[in-house]
Every structure is written in C-alpha cells, then in structure tokens.
C-alpha cells in the first residue's frame, strides 16, 4: 500500500517538474554552464565560457560586479570576463556566473517563502561550504560552493509547482518553530529533497550533486555517506544557527561534532579534527553583512520585479 502511494507521489512530482522546463526566464547560458561543471577543470575552455556569456550582457555585467565583493576576492570590478578569469580563475568565474543565472532563472512571483530569505540561506550555505572545504584542504572548493548554492533548489520547485501545499508547510514550520524538512514531511508527505532531486535529474546534474540535493537532511542514509553531502549537511545546519536560516526561530540544539555527517567527513578529511568550530562560527558572522549585500546585488532586482 505504502509503495503505491510513494510511486504516485514520485510520479506526480516528476510530472509537475516537467513544467518548469517551459519557463521562459531561464537564461540561455545557464544549462550549458551547468553542463561544464561535469568537466575536469582543465577541459573547460575559457573561450567557450566567454562566448556563452556574450549572449547575455546583463549576466556578464552582474558577474563583474559580484566578482568585486570581498567574499569573492577582488578589490575592484574586473573589466571583462577574461580579466576576471585571469584574476580569479575559470572555475570561480564559472560559479559566479551560475550564481547570477540562478538569480534570473527563478522569478519570485508569489513565492510562499520570502525570496530574499531563501537566497541568503542558499548563498550563505555556498560560502560556508567553500570556506569549510578550504579549511579541509580540498582540491575543488568551487564544487563545494555550487553544492551549497543548489542544495535547496527543491524549495523553488515547491514554490512554483506545489504553491498551495508548500504555503501550508511554510506556515506550519514557522508556527511550530520546527525544521522545515519536518514541516514539509508532516504537511505535504514529501519534501524539497524529493522535488529538488527530480529537477536535478532533469537538468542532468552530476550524480554527487543529485545526492547532495536529495540527502542533505538525512546524513545517516547510506547514499549520504559522501563527503560533499556531509559538508552541505553541516554547513546548512550552521547557517540555520547563525542568522542564515529561513526567517523564523528554530527550536533546535545542533551538535555538529557528534552528527553522523561529521564522522563521514572526518573519514575523508583528517584535517576536520583541527578545525576550530567556534572561530569558524565567528568568521561566518563576519561574512554575513557581505552575504546580505551580495544577495541584494544579485537577487534584489529580480525579487522586486517578481513581487
């Protein structure tokens, strides 16, 4: 009995997610850029990125502005995408471009969730993932950034294709001050993890990115035993405890070091043992102002239009 219910919910999610593809707002460069994320860094061609971006001047301009945020590392705006790549590296410019595309891709019309709050959480989580993976000495810190940025794309799916059900879940979460994930489960019977997974699969995101999106709230699941999933799970929790949550008080006690994700991450990165978590938290607090500013640069205009 329960299997058939699950199947029908899954089928329903997949059917509704299809409609997202017809959205006119997705910038033409977005999906090709996402595809390039699969490639090893040395196979991504600068000219190809520049050619893609040249189709969309507003995204290029925004990318150059964003590159000059202290959080991305340049003291002033680079003059061109090429110049930005020379200073920041192709990988980072690619993730900045994708961040800008995300802002354009999802019109925040009648969202059940305050879009500014959502983007602060997503971008905050992206920054924390990147910083965390830097501390662990990981080779691909931009991958960690993208995983953090996209982990909650299921929320956007919910806003667009399950608006009524999701609005009820949002209200339930804020009223009971419980984690969002639990509120969705109890009021809709499925969560942003399933809807996000459906979109991620249609977009042909990498297998590990799909896992991040599908399992970041269940680190104990066997599929979640992956350093990137563990990293996103921990970063998401930390953000929610440091003013980068979903805009309501979550009655929660979070013990990161004794979380199964910590153990999973430690297996891969011994350096985790040496991370000063309190100082890391204070450093996140310092970055918050910059994250808020970036959100208004990237997503501000878009959310105003949508409302």
């Amino acid at each position: 009995m329960s299997t058939s219910i699950t199947v029908s919910v899954d089928a329903q999610i997949k059917e509704r997610v299809k409609s997202i593809e017809t959205m006119p707002s997705i910038p033409a460069v977005f999906l090709p850029l996402l595809d390039m994320l699969h490639l090893p860094p040395d196979l991504v061609k600068l000219d190809e990125v520049v050619r893609l971006v040249s189709y969309d001047n507003t995204i290029a301009a925004q990318c150059l502005r964003v590159a000059s945020s202290p959080l991305f590392g340049l003291a002033k705006s680079p003059e061109s995408i090429k110049a930005a790549v020379i200073s920041l590296g192709l990988r980072r410019v690619q993730t900045i471009l994708l961040t800008c595309c995300m802002g354009k891709a999802f019109p925040a019309k009648n969202w059940a969730l305050d879009p500014i709050v959502f983007w602060r959480h997503s971008l905050g989580c992206a920054m924390v993932c990147r910083k965390f993976s830097e501390k662990l000495g990981s080779a691909d810190t931009e991958k960690a950034y993208m995983a953090g940025l996209m982990h909650d794309i299921g929320f956007m799916v919910n806003c667009m294709v399950f608006p009524a059900e999701f609005a009820a879940a949002v209200e339930h979460a804020a009223k009971e001050q419980i984690p969002f994930y639990e509120a969705e489960q109890s009021s809709m019977g499925f969560t942003h993890c399933e809807t996000g997974k459906a979109l991620a699969e249609r977009w042909n995101l990498s297998e590990e990115m799909v896992r991040v999106i599908a399992c970041h709230h269940q680190p104990e699941r066997p599929e979640a035993q992956h350093p990137l999933v563990a990293l996103v799970h921990l970063s998401d929790l930390l953000c929610r405890m440091r003013n980068l949550g979903y805009g309501y008080y979550e009655r929660q006690k979070v013990d990161l070091v004794h979380d199964p994700a910590w153990t999973a991450l430690l297996r891969e990165h011994r350096a985790l043992d040496g991370v000063d978590l309190v100082r890391f938290t204070f450093e996140l607090d310092e970055a918050i102002e910059g994250i808020f500013q970036l959100v208004s640069t990237i997503f501000g205009a878009m959310t105003k239009q949508g409302q």
């Binding site: 990318c63 705006s77 061109s80 405890m241 003013n243 013990d255 309190v278």
Partner: protein
Amino acid sequence: MTAGTQLAKVISTPPRLSEAVDPVYRQIRDLVYKVSGIYKAEEKLYLLAAGCERRMKELKTKGPREYWDHLTAHPSRDGELRQLLNEITIGETCLFRSPPQLDALRKVILPEIVGDKAKQITKRLRIWSAGCSTGEESYTLAMNMMEESTGLLKSWTVEIIATDLNDRSIETAKNGIYGDYALRSTPDYFKRKYFVALDDKRLEVKPEVKKLVAFSRLNLQDDSKILFMKGMDLIFCCNVLIYFDGPSKAKVINHFFSNLNFGGYFFLGTSESLLNLNDKFHLVHFPGAIAYWKPSLKSEKL
C-alpha cells in the same frame, strides 16, 4: 567593449572600512584570540584598534608595530596583554547582553531540562553566575526565570548563585541600581515589571528579583571552595576566563564540568571560545548562541 564591461566600469567599488585598519591589528586580534579566547570580529576591529591606541598613548609607543613588540617580545608582555584585555572588554556588561542566549535558554534548554527532571520529586533549578561582576547578568537570568514561573517552571524552585572575586563589585550588585547605559538593552516590558524608578536616571531592581539571587565572594582559582558549588544546571561565566593562563583556565573548566549536573549547560561570553581546552563538553549551537553541554547519562549510553 561590451555593454557589460562598460556597465562594470561605471559601478564604482564602495570603499571598505577594513582597508583602513592597519593589518597589524589583525595579528593582534589573532594573538588575543589565541591567549584569551576573545574574538574581535572584523567589524569590531576598530574597537580593538582604539583599545590598542589608548595603551600605546600610555606606553608612548610610536605605532602599532612597536606595540606588537610590546605584546610579544617585551619582558612585560603578559602584563601588557592583560591591560589590553581590560581595555577591550571595558563597559561591555549590561543587562540583557545576549538575547539569543536568553532565547536558547527559555525556548530550548529549559523545556529539555524540565522534561529530563520530570520524574524527580524535588523540582529545583540551580544556576551559577560565575564572575558576576556588578550583577547585570545575574538579575537578567532571575527576571527571565520569573517569566517562566507560571509556565514551564511552575512549582519549581529556582536558585541563582552569583559569585565574584571583587568585594566592591558584589556590594554594587546587591544594591541592584542601574543607569541608562547598563539598561540600554533591557526591554521596556522588563523595566516596568521588575524595576522601580529611583530618580529620573536610575532604576532599582525590585526586592522579589533580588530575593532570587544569592551573591557571595569566590575566587575561581580556589579549588577547595569551587568544589562545593555542586549540582548546577547552568553555569554562566562571561569574559572572566580570558584573564587566566592556559593551565588555570583548563582547571577551572574541569571544575565547571564536575559542578554541572548531567544534561547541564555552560555558557561563555558571546564572542568567547573555550579554545578546545576541554573535550568532555559537547559544543552545541542554538540559533545565535553557542553553549557547552555536559551530555546526559541517557545520551552517553547511546
């Protein structure tokens, strides 16, 4: 030139405050953190710089680089660091200093402790404000517990033990009289409910609040005395351990761990860290607040 590059040129980069600060202050910030556990965030770096400047004036040093030598190479470096810590923590105490700590206490911790102790016959909550200074924190805790006296803590006995090394601070604390500056973060609701106006500038804590707090003198380095502070559910020790050297700090923290009941919590100041001096406590996060938890017996067995 594309439209994008033109646009990017027009948008000038706003000046950043942090660029104005001499990088040596970041070195000093890191040193202060390593020694005391106090972290001065980037946006508060100017406060650290101002503290250093006051010390530099006193010492007649020429610039921050020379002052750095005072802190690291001079024979009197330990004393100088203490002076600097005094400068940067001065005037930090006030009532309702950390609302997120109070939220964590009332919304998450109290329900947990009350639930854990549900089966005990004597319903008693013991809180220790260690290094209470002039009483701001102690009374803040008392008022917040009183708010719960008809709800979560109905039929509970609450004891707040407040100790400090300094006799004069304790006398001031007992008087419970505070001016605008100390009351700057106190919500009007609490001012009306728990204070009486002494004159147009000062408020005095009401007797029923004072009754809840027992002030006494205690030296945290006095092992024989600290042993008697048993059966605590919560210990608050804000900006006190920063003056202790590594080994004394570790010793006091071990005492705190023993003084706490299983399932109890230990709070430091909002920008203070335990610096991994104790691995028995679990570092836990609440929204906007950090605490150290002595795991309950139940969770240790799991």
